[in-house]
């Protein structure tokens, strides 16, 4: 971790053209979602208190969340329904050896679409409701909204349940069918993805997570979307933290490079994974770690572009790491076509659902 801290401090000092204080670095780490690095800094006392508070809060929230869902995980195993918990606490465990470093808002389940009905019934029978949280409590989605989620996204409408814990008043479970995005116009074979899982314990609850190499693929696909989707870029999702995650995963979880490349070939995702590692290398500079992986991944051309759909791909005018510190929103306001701006607006409306 110290190595990444050193690299990130160097990047930030260069970007801001000065030697940043620990206080300034703390703020920038928060802004750039570098969760793992926050705990490595020797911060002023008040910041340390803030960190300690959030650590405690996060630990409590994750505890409540996983304990509330314990019976669901037991049922999934009992009914032999393939699944994996992705992102959040399980990823935190792989990245930092500690489930409580990363903050997240929900438990993300990855499942096969064919199992969606069984899992929905299971969650409903456990008291979850597909709806949104309002001041008045949980309001169920209308049938139209439920249909919208299932048909138009790669997930079911979110499942929410009230808890008795004021620190975590609601538990939210997202059920995903795919790791790719709509614009890819294809789906990953989930049966294959979910055949690569292993058991881990989070807050004394045994859950399935993806095995290292598959988990890294899942992380790359998630981050690739943040780095390329017009909508997410416009929303400011391109953060230094994305690259810290990728670097930390390679460094700490150490997926097997050959096996990773084989899985990428099987799933036809080599381009995405290689692009993520290559961009990480651009951020942190050429190094033996990223080179170890890049040499096995088969993908001849890595275009320096953004955009997910074929029709919306544009070359980047900013190199990495400079790209992380420019105002992408203003740039998009000036350069995107009306159609692209409309798509961003539509996405915004949908996400407000």
């Amino acid at each position: 971790m110290n190595k990444i801290l050193e690299l990130v401090c160097h990047i930030l000092n260069q970007a801001y053209k000065k030697k940043l204080t620990d206080g300034e670095l703390f703020d920038l780490f928060s802004q750039h979602k570098c969760a793992g690095l926050l705990y490595e800094l020797s911060c002023p006392k008040e910041k340390q208190q803030e960190i300690a508070f959030y650590k405690m809060l996060n630990r409590n929230i994750i505890y409540v969340r996983y304990q509330s869902c314990a019976s669901i995980f037991t049922q999934l195993e009992k009914q032999k329904i393939p699944y994996a918990v992705i992102k959040g606490a399980v990823l935190s465990l792989s990245l930092y050896g500690n489930a409580f470093v990363r903050r997240s808002g929900d438990i993300d389940l990855l499942i096969c679409r064919n199992d969606a009905d069984r899992i929905k019934q299971l969650l409903l029978s456990e008291g979850f409701i597909q709806g949104r949280i309002t001041e008045q409590g949980i309001v169920p989605f209308s049938r139209y909204e439920l249909l919208y989620y299932t048909a138009q996204t790669h997930q079911l409408a979110p499942f929410i349940r009230k808890t008795n814990n004021p620190l975590c008043p609601y538990v939210n479970v997202d059920v995903n069918f795919d790791l790719l995005w709509g614009e890819a116009n294809r789906s990953l074979t989930m049966d294959f993805v979910l055949s690569k899982t292993e058991l881990v314990s989070i807050c004394n609850v045994t859950v399935r997570k993806l095995k290292t190499e598959m988990e890294f693929i899942s992380l790359c696909l998630h981050h690739y979307k943040d780095m390329n989707s017009l909508y997410l870029l416009y929303k400011g999702k391109l953060k230094l933290g994305l690259f810290c995650d990728l670097y930390a995963y390679l460094s700490n979880a150490a997926p097997d490079p050959k096996h990773l490349a084989e899985l990428c070939d099987t799933l036809s995702v080599s381009l995405y994974v290689k692009k993520c590692i290559s961009d990480t290398e651009k951020v942190f500079g050429k190094n033996t770690l990223t080179q170890r992986y890049l040499q096995y991944l088969h993908c001849p051309n890595l275009p320096d572009t953004y955009g997910l759909a074929k029709t919306e791909i544009h070359p980047w005018p900013f190199a990495l790491p400079e790209r992380l510190f420019v105002d992408i929103r203003s740039y998009f306001d000036q350069t995107l076509s009306l159609e692209e701006k409309e798509k961003i607006k539509l996405n915004n409306t949908v996400m407000m659902l």
Binding site: R113, A116, D117, S125, I129, G131, Q136, L146, Q152
Partner: protein, 397 residues
């Protein structure tokens, strides 16, 4: 059935000229884009009273006309177009406006038209039945209303009780020795319609909602085919094993869960007073102390530190039901429920128990007691407190 689906497709795709579909027509290329796909599914679900499963909700499963019919074959089958022989009608807010036993009743133009249709169907040999969650004597009194076109004798059988309507329909089918596929069920409650659609998908359930379109729909369901057609269909129908109908939910409890009902029960606020007052004035069947509160009464009560006024609101997949119940609790050496009332539209969905458990929580460690004023109208709730371990203070009405 195919024709109806093509009509829906054309309506949703909305091109200048209706599309002539073939098995290989690519629906996405024909204009069934992502948003229209959802509109199409919504319309299909409404028209055929089905619910498409999440696992089938992919454009891939609706890519071509052929694929679409393959996917839909598990939900809709051509045999579903059975001859309808029985019409089971709800009473309150369907045959008349208002709730018998709760409020004054009247018959508007819509109810009058519906009753005329039932008279006509009766004369054509359709078997009419009643199914209501009211009390038999209230319904019988309502039939004595001057404006009623129908008499009790028009109805061959009735189930006027507190059982869930799916069980009642099964009983009626058994009594009449007819398959449920020949049943049409009419009700103004989305909950009841949903219950029947989910528990007895073979029954055609018609929501008697605003406007007169539903009356037309009933008329069309009973428009008779030629005698030969009817006999052929009847023969076919008799061969069917009614047990083959796949009910999606095995019990009313399971169905209730699927509705994703959310209840909010908390201390009443100023804005909730008008509705809480109105509900107390109108409610008889589940009003345990027969308490009637004016808005002013409730305003004073919510300011009283020894009193807790609770408002119970509910919503589900069909929409927001608003405030459906209220309670007044006075805390002293004992915590006494002075008022406990619930809209008759939500009986037997567990709301009674929710309201009571909130009262128990508000009472804390103090013994919970409730005032009970027995009347003929609230007779189904005479044992409610006792059954739930609440001390009863019985008073004369």
């Amino acid at each position: 059935m195919k024709q109806k689906i093509f009509e829906i497709l054309n309506e949703v795709i909305d091109t200048e000229k209706p599309i002539c579909f073939s098995d290989e027509t690519d629906l996405s290329e024909a204009g069934l884009t992502s948003i229209k796909f959802i509109q199409f599914i919504v319309k299909l679900e409404e028209t055929f009273s089905i619910e498409i499963l999440d696992s089938d909700l992919t454009l891939q499963k609706f890519k071509t006309v052929k694929k679409m019919f393959e996917t839909l074959s598990t939900y809709i089958s051509p045999e579903k177009s059975f001859i309808k022989k029985v019409l089971v009608s709800d009473c309150d807010n369907v045959l008349w406006q208002g709730i018998a036993g709760e409020e004054p009743l009247s018959i508007g133009q819509r109810e009058s038209e519906y009753q005329s249709l039932l008279q006509k169907l009766y004369n054509e040999g359709v078997l009419l039945c009643l199914c209501s969650k009211n009390e038999p004597e209230h319904i019988s009194e309502a039939f004595a209303m001057g404006e009623m076109k129908l008499t009790w004798e028009h109805f061959i059988a009735h189930r006027i009780n507190r059982k869930d309507k799916a069980s009642n329909l099964r009983d009626l089918a058994f009594e009449l020795n007819l398959s449920l596929e020949s049943f049409v069920f009419v009700d103004d409650s989305n909950y009841e319609i949903g219950l029947i659609q989910n528990l007895l998908p073979e029954v055609t359930a018609i929501p008697a909602d605003g406007g007169n379109l539903w009356i037309e729909e009933i008329r069309s369901l009973f428009s008779l085919p030629s005698k030969e057609e009817r006999n052929r269909t009847e023969l076919y129908r008799e061969q069917k094993n009614r047990e083959q109908a796949k009910a999606k939910y095995s019990s009313a409890e399971e169905y209730n869960r699927s509705l994703q009902t959310v209840t909010i029960c908390k201390t009443a606020s100023e804005e909730q007073i008008p509705r809480l007052s109105e509900l107390s004035l109108r409610t008889n069947q589940c009003n345990l102390s027969l308490a009637r509160y004016t808005e002013e009464d409730l305003r004073l009560l919510i300011q009283d530190p020894a009193v807790t006024v609770l408002a119970l609101s509910a919503s589900d997949q069909y929409g927001d039901m608003g405030i459906v119940g209220g309670a007044v609790l006075r805390r002293g050496e004992e915590a006494v429920i002075e008022g406990f009332y619930l809209s008759c539209r939500v009986f037997d969905r567990g709301f009674e128990e929710i309201l009571l458990s909130e009262l128990q929580a508000a009472a804390g460690n103090v013994l919970l007691a409730g005032i009970l004023k027995k009347s003929a109208k609230n007779k189904n709730y005479h044992n409610f407190y006792q059954k739930n371990g609440v001390k009863v203070y019985e008073q004369n009405p």
